[in-house]
């Protein structure tokens, strides 16, 4: 089993800590590893490190690299189910299944996440309002827990199944999962793009029409105020019915360009971001119906530039993503207004409607709205502005997304995730010694280990 000591941080590059990285080759090695590690140092799984904050690291502890768990089974032609190693990325899986006429049931804005991470964060995509989150499409999970390996289904152990969905790796280490794929007849996407002059118009269009599309997302400009506050571009679509091009070349082999080194501090400032947002808004058509786009253009805009997180410079960035119920839809406008008023520069924000959430006690999506903003670390006002937003979001029955978090006020966690105590009981059942922990867990006390 390969072992090294290295400095790790999340995609936001904000909290580098040193951990031991181990790379088990088999389930047996992993089971043995969990039996051997002393609980006080902690163990957590890590995939491709795309979580923004600290869920896939444990300072001074052991980070388990699942890159050896890469098998992909044959696809069951009747149920469309496939069994995939936890270390397989959505990118690898798509390269494998697109030529066979299948798509992943849920994809985030990047293909560079693993199946294990997709379940641990219970990720969502542009189709959440129709198809729910990733765990909704998971048939079974192979989980190695400190009390031993087990295969978990909704029927065999519903509590453990749902605690693992969105459980941020704290209920065990996933080695494989069986998921149900989406059969498609084309690798192209038919897209309707509409431009809207302010946030109210964007949100009204989404409420009116999202149900007509499998996929829907809006990109919103957070640097404008007044009559154009929250102007945005709404893109909605579905897989095209027939295929003009070849399936084999549906995805690019890699990113078109890469950021080769860390940008100097302050490259992304109010001026440069305002200019970018303006150009981006002007570039979008007022209305274009039935446009044809590739899968990578439509689903994975973040993959066009490799290492784009380096643009934020040495101090890194945070992403603030929250969800609020429909009754509190005004929170979206309030959040954008407060950030604009505090002069914190923000790139385009992503706005999306969520359908009903799944039963995972730590699963993020709940019916209503979600807004995600990238914010550079540096403006002195930012920590307090986000703390105030936490208060607002928690107060209206909303929550923040743990896979994106790097700074949430821990006092709000039980309000945001009311089933937290149920999660803690399940985690303690399969990990009574509390071997599994992460810096996220330590920071937010997810497992309830700290005596307050």
């Amino acid at each position: 089993m390969a072992e090294s000591t290295e400095l790790l941080s999340g995609w936001g590059r904000t909290m580098a800590v040193r951990s031991h990285r181990v790379t088990p080759r088999t389930t047996e090695e992993l089971t043995e590893l969990l039996a051997e590690r002393a609980p006080n140092h902690g163990v957590i799984a890590r995939g491709l490190g795309r979580s923004y904050g600290d869920p896939a690291q444990v300072a001074g502890g052991t980070v388990v690299d699942l890159s050896a768990f890469t098998t992909i089974s044959a696809i069951d032609a009747r149920t469309h189910a496939v069994t995939v190693g936890a270390g397989v990325s959505i990118d690898t899986l798509l390269h494998h299944i697109l030529p066979l006429g299948y798509f992943v049931p849920v994809t985030p804005g990047t293909r560079q996440v693993t199946i294990g991470g997709a379940i641990a964060a219970d990720i969502h995509g542009k189709n959440h309002h129709v198809d729910g989150s990733f765990a909704n499409h998971v048939v079974s999970m192979d989980l190695v827990t400190p009390i031993g390996p087990m295969t978990v289904t909704r029927a065999s152990d519903p509590d453990l199944f749902w605690a693992t969905a969105g459980g941020m790796g704290l209920t065990g280490i996933l080695t494989a999962a069986t998921i149900t794929l989406l059969p498609i007849s084309s690798t192209l996407v038919s897209v309707d793009t509409t431009r809207h002059r302010n946030l109210d118009e964007v949100m009204a269009a989404m409420v009116d029409g999202d149900h007509r599309y499998r996929y829907s997302v809006a990109w919103v400009d957070c640097m404008t105020s007044g009559a154009t506050m929250g102007r945005g571009v709404l893109t909605r679509g579905d897989h095209a019915p027939s295929d003009a091009g070849s399936r084999a070349n549906a995805l690019p082999a890699g990113a078109a360009v890469a950021v080769p080194f860390n940008a100097p501090p302050g490259l992304l400032n109010r001026l440069s971001i305002t200019a970018f947002n303006e150009a981006w808004y002007r570039k979008a058509p007022k209305e274009r119906l039935g446009g044809i786009e590739s899968i990578s253009t439509f689903f994975h805009p973040l993959d066009g530039v490799a290492n784009w997180n380096r643009l934020y410079g040495p101090r890194g960035f945070v992403q603030y993503q929250f969800a609020v119920p429909d009754a509190a839809s005004a929170t979206v406008a309030t959040a954008i207004e407060r950030l604009a008023a505090s002069k914190v520069p923000s790139f385009l924000a992503v706005l999306k409607r969520f359908g009903e959430g799944d039963p995972g006690p730590l699963s993020f999506p709940t019916a209503g709205w979600t807004l995600a903003l990238d914010l550079p670390v540096g403006p002195p006002a930012l920590p307090a502005v986000l703390d105030d937003l936490d208060d607002l979001v928690a107060g209206v029955g909303g929550r923040i997304y743990l896979a994106k978090d790097a700074r949430c006020n821990p006092a709000h966690l039980e309000t945001m995730y009311p089933a937290l105590s149920a999660f803690r009981s399940v985690a303690d059942r399969v990990d009574p010694e509390r071997l599994l922990t992460s810096d996220l867990d330590r920071r937010l006390n997810l497992r309830g280990s700290r005596h307050a």
Binding site: L7, M15, G60, P383, A452
Partner: protein
């Protein structure tokens, strides 16, 4: 764990009754700090400081240790980390003794104590903290030095030379910790009006404990390796350090 903005949740304050140290703690409690260990000599004063923290919903534990006795350093580190029980996000080294130069001048015992309290004990404690934080894989260290360390002067050369030792030690410590996940922030305040200096005439660019705390918290957030309080002293001392001795002698303060 500290967060993306470098805001700690747990801290150990060596010099648990230091006005500057407690002002830093106070500022951090406004953010995320919830568990503090106060290390010092004066049990009553430490308990008072702990009680003030309890009233702000902060867990505060007291560890007794006398910085005038170099042999207590190891035990103080072990007890402080054990009292915290969880990874320590921040170590603040705020131990210091200003002394009285007119009495220190000809007194070997007083001079030895000055160097123990200002240099030997803090350095020994920092060595112990270094081991503990490296094992944790994360942590931040704040060391309160002084602009007096930049150039010793007649009025307080024993204090200045002691801080000079700690200042240089800290810069080397920071180098030794590159790539470990542990960062070091050296703070060089000017004349700070506290109980330690209330009998003295304030020097130019004098500052206060809360102002030094603001500089320190900003240095932690920015990851600044060296910070001055007030900030202008960085440039003032750039000049003062290179003045001819005849002129340096005449600078007030």
């Amino acid at each position: 764990m500290r967060d993306a903005f470098g805001q700690p949740q747990t801290a150990i304050l060596f010099g648990g009754t230091s006005a500057i140290g407690l002002a830093i703690v106070d500022r951090l409690v406004d953010a995320r700090l919830r568990h503090v260990v106060l290390v010092g000599r004066n049990a009553t004063a430490l308990e008072d400081a702990a009680a003030a923290l309890h009233s702000r919903s902060v867990t505060a534990t007291v560890v007794l240790a006398d910085a005038a006795d170099g042999a207590t350093a190891r035990g103080a580190v072990d007890q402080a980390f054990a009292a915290l029980g969880t990874p320590c996000d921040l170590v603040i080294m705020a131990v210091g003794l200003l002394g009285d130069q007119s009495k220190d001048d000809d007194d070997p015992d007083r001079t030895a104590t000055m160097f123990t309290v200002n240099t030997a004990w803090p350095a020994a404690v920092l060595a112990g903290c270094r081991a503990a934080l490296v094992a944790q894989g994360t942590g931040q260290i704040v060391v309160l030095s002084s602009v007096a360390a930049l150039r010793t002067r007649r009025a307080n050369y024993t204090y200045g030379a002691g801080k000079q030792g700690l200042d240089g030690f800290t810069l080397g410590l920071a180098e030794s910790l590159r790539g470990t996940g542990v960062t070091v922030h050296l703070i060089r305040p000017g004349f700070v009006t506290t109980k330690m200096t209330e009998h003295l005439k304030a020097a130019p660019f004098s500052t206060t404990a809360p102002a030094v705390a603001d500089v320190t918290v900003a240095a932690i957030a920015k990851g600044a390796p060296v910070a001055y309080a007030p900030g202008i002293l960085r440039y003032v001392f750039l000049v003062l350090r290179h003045l001819p001795s005849a002129l340096w002698r005449k600078i007030p303060g």
